[in-house]
C-alpha cells in the first residue's frame, strides 16, 4: 500500500544504522564539524529546494487553510448542539466531541484515511480523482479532529457572554435565534480570538500527523518531505529544515496570541478609565 511506497520500513533501518555509524565516526574525529555536517549540511539544504517550498510548505499551508475554516464551521455546529436544549442535538454533539477528543489524533486520521476505504471498499481517488485522494481524507480527518477541540473553545466563548446580554436582546423581542446570531456569537468570537489563534498554530503542527497516510510525490507536507530526504541522505539536516519551516509560521502565531491576550486583558480596564461608573459594582 501507500505506506510501503514511501519507503517507511526498509529505509528507516538503513537510516538509523547509518546515523549510528556516522555518530560513532564523528565522535572519533571532529565532533563540532560532525554536528554541523549532520544538522546543517548546506548542500542537502540546497538539494531540498525548491520542493521544500513549492511542495512541502505549500501542502502544509493548504491542509491548514482548508481544515481551519472547515473545523470552525463544524465546531460551531457542535458547540450549538452541545448547548441546545433538545437532546437530539445535544447527545450526538457531546458524543462526537468526547469520542474524538478521547482518541489519539493519529488514530482518527488512520481510520478516515485507511480504515474507512478498506471497510467500505472504496478508494478516495474514486470520490474525486487524484486531487481528492491527495487532499480529501487529509483535510477531512484533520477538520474532524480540530472541530472537536474547536467546539469546546466556541462553547466556552458563548458561555462567557454575560447573561444580561441575552436578557437585553430577548426583552426587546428578539428571537433566541437572532439573539444568538446578532448578539451572542459576535461577542463570543471576539472573546475566543486568542485561543482560536492558538488552535490554528496547533493545527499547523498537526498536519505533520498526515505523514502516516503517505501520499503521491507532489502531495507531501513538511515532515514527510523532510523525512524522505533524511532517509535517502542519512542526514538530519532535512529535519532541521522542517523544524524551521514550522517555526516560521508558528512563532509569529504564538506571539500574536500573546499580544491578543494582553490586549483583551487591558481592554476592560481601558474601558473603565474612559467610563468610571461603567464597571461599578451593584
Amino acid at each position: 500500500m501507500r505506506l510501503v511506497r514511501t519507503g517507511y520500513g526498509s529505509n528507516r533501518m538503513s537510516y538509523s544504522a547509518l546515523i549510528v555509524g556516522n555518530f560513532t565516526g564523528n565522535f572519533m574525529g571532529n565532533v563540532v564539524g560532525g554536528i554541523s555536517d549532520q544538522f546543517f549540511d548546506v548542500k542537502i539544504l540546497r538539494d531540498m529546494m525548491p520542493g521544500l517550498l513549492t511542495e512541502a510548505v505549500k501542502n502544509t499551508v493548504i491542509y491548514t487553510a482548508v481544515a481551519f475554516p472547515m473545523s470552525m464551521i463544524f465546531g460551531l455546529l457542535l458547540a450549538l448542539g452541545r448547548l441546545s436544549k433538545r437532546r437530539i442535538f445535544r447527545w450526538p454533539a457531546s458524543m462526537f466531541v468526547d469520542v474524538i477528543r478521547g482518541l489519539p489524533a493519529l488514530l482518527t486520521i488512520l481510520i478516515i484515511g485507511l480504515a474507512l476505504p478498506i471497510a467500505f471498499e472504496f478508494r478516495w481517488s474514486s470520490v474525486g480523482g487524484r486531487f481528492a485522494e491527495q487532499y480529501l481524507p487529509q483535510c477531512l480527518s484533520l477538520s474532524l479532529v480540530m472541530a472537536a477541540y474547536m467546539a469546546e473553545t466556541i462553547r466556552a466563548g458563548i458561555q462567557a457572554v454575560p447573561n444580561g446580554q441575552i436578557e437585553a436582546a430577548r426583552s426587546l423581542g428578539m428571537s433566541s435565534r437572532s439573539t444568538m446570531r446578532k448578539v451572542v456569537l459576535p461577542q463570543a468570537f471576539r472573546i475566543i480570538i486568542p485561543p482560536l489563534t492558538n488552535e490554528l498554530a496547533a493545527l499547523f503542527k498537526d498536519t505533520s500527523l498526515l505523514a502516516i497516510l503517505g501520499t503521491f510525490d507532489g502531495g507531501r507536507e513538511l515532515l514527510q518531505y523532510a523525512r524522505g530526504f533524511a532517509n535517502s541522505r542519512a542526514n538530519s539536516t532535512p529535519f532541521v529544515a522542517a523544524g524551521l519551516g514550522y517555526l516560521a509560521i508558528t512563532l509569529p502565531l504564538l506571539r500574536a496570541v500573546a499580544a491578543l491576550e494582553n490586549r483583551t486583558r487591558r481592554g476592560p480596564k481601558a474601558a473603565n478609565t474612559a467610563a468610571p461608573a461603567a464597571g461599578a459594582p451593584a
Partner: protein, 242 residues
C-alpha cells in the same frame, strides 16, 4: 394595563414571591420599593417572563403573558425593559444598539431604523453620542442609551429594574430626569427603585414589598411620608437615615 393575579415564584425551596396581586392602569407610574431580597426585581422580571412564574397569571394589555401558547417575542416588543447593569451591546455603536431590535424584529430598513434611533437618542439628550461605542460613555450616559434602546420598539409599558443602582451618585440625576420626562409624556411605568425621593415625586402609587408579599401600597406621598404598616415605617426610616 398590567394585571397580576396570585403570582408565586420559587427557586427550589426558596419562595421569592408568595402570592402577588397588582394592577397598573394605563399611564400610571408605579414604584416598587422594599429591602433587597423582598422579590421586587423578580416580580418585575416575571412581567416580561425573563423569569418564569411558578403559578399565577399576568395579563399585559389584554394578552395573557403567562399562557404557554403566548407569543413571547411579540408581547415583549410592547414592554421596554431597563436593567441595573445597562446591558448595552458592547460590540455595537450607540446607533447600532438602537437599530438592533427594529431591524431584526420588525425588519425595518436600515435608513428608517437609523432615523428612528436618532430620534430616540434625542429624547434622552445624547444626540452627539450617536457614533460612540458604549465603553466610551459614562454610566449615566449608558443607561440613557439603554432607555432609548428600549423605546425604539415603541413599548406601551416601561419596566425599570433598579436602573440607577449601579451608578455613581452624581450620575443618578440625569437618568432620573429622563425617567421623569418619560412619565410626564404619559408612559405607563413599573419602576423598581431605591430612590425614595424619585418615588415620592414622580410615582402615582408606591408599592412596598417584603418577604415576597405586598405589605402596603398607596398614593406616593402618603406612602413615603406617612406609611401605615410597621414594616414599611421601619424600612423607610432606615433608608432615610442612610
Amino acid at each position: 394595563m398590567i394585571s397580576i393575579r396570585n403570582l408565586t415564584k420559587s427557586f427550589g425551596t426558596n419562595h421569592v414571591l408568595r402570592g402577588i396581586d397588582l394592577d397598573i392602569a394605563e399611564k400610571e407610574v408605579v414604584c416598587v420599593i422594599g429591602p433587597s431580597g423582598s422579590g421586587k426585581s423578580t416580580l418585575l422580571r416575571c412581567v416580561n417572563r425573563l423569569e418564569e412564574p411558578t403559578s399565577g397569571t399576568i395579563t399585559v394589555d389584554g394578552i395573557v403573558v403567562t399562557d404557554p401558547k403566548c407569543d413571547l417575542d411579540r408581547v415583549r416588543t410592547s414592554m421596554g425593559m431597563v436593567f441595573q447593569q445597562f446591558n448595552l451591546f458592547p460590540h455595537k455603536s450607540v446607533l447600532g444598539n438602537l437599530t438592533m431590535a427594529p431591524m431584526n424584529v420588525r425588519k425595518v430598513p436600515r435608513g428608517d431604523a437609523e432615523a428612528w434611533g436618532k430620534a430616540m437618542l434625542e429624547q434622552v439628550g445624547l444626540s452627539e453620542k450617536v457614533n460612540a461605542m458604549p465603553s466610551q460613555l459614562s454610566g449615566g450616559q449608558q443607561q440613557r442609551v439603554a432607555i432609548a434602546r428600549a423605546l425604539t420598539m415603541n413599548p406601551r409599558v416601561m419596566l425599570f429594574d433598579e436602573a440607577t443602582s449601579a451608578l455613581d451618585p452624581e450620575l443618578v440625576g440625569e437618568v432620573l430626569q429622563v425617567m421623569r420626562n418619560l412619565a410626564g409624556d404619559g408612559m405607563t411605568m413599573m419602576v423598581v427603585t431605591h430612590e425614595m425621593g424619585f418615588a415620592r415625586e414622580v410615582a402615582d402609587r408606591v408599592v412596598f414589598m417584603d418577604g415576597g408579599v405586598i405589605v402596603e401600597q398607596g398614593p406616593a406621598q402618603q406612602m413615603i411620608d406617612n406609611p401605615q404598616e410597621e414594616r414599611t415605617q421601619a424600612f423607610l426610616s432606615r433608608s432615610r437615615t442612610r
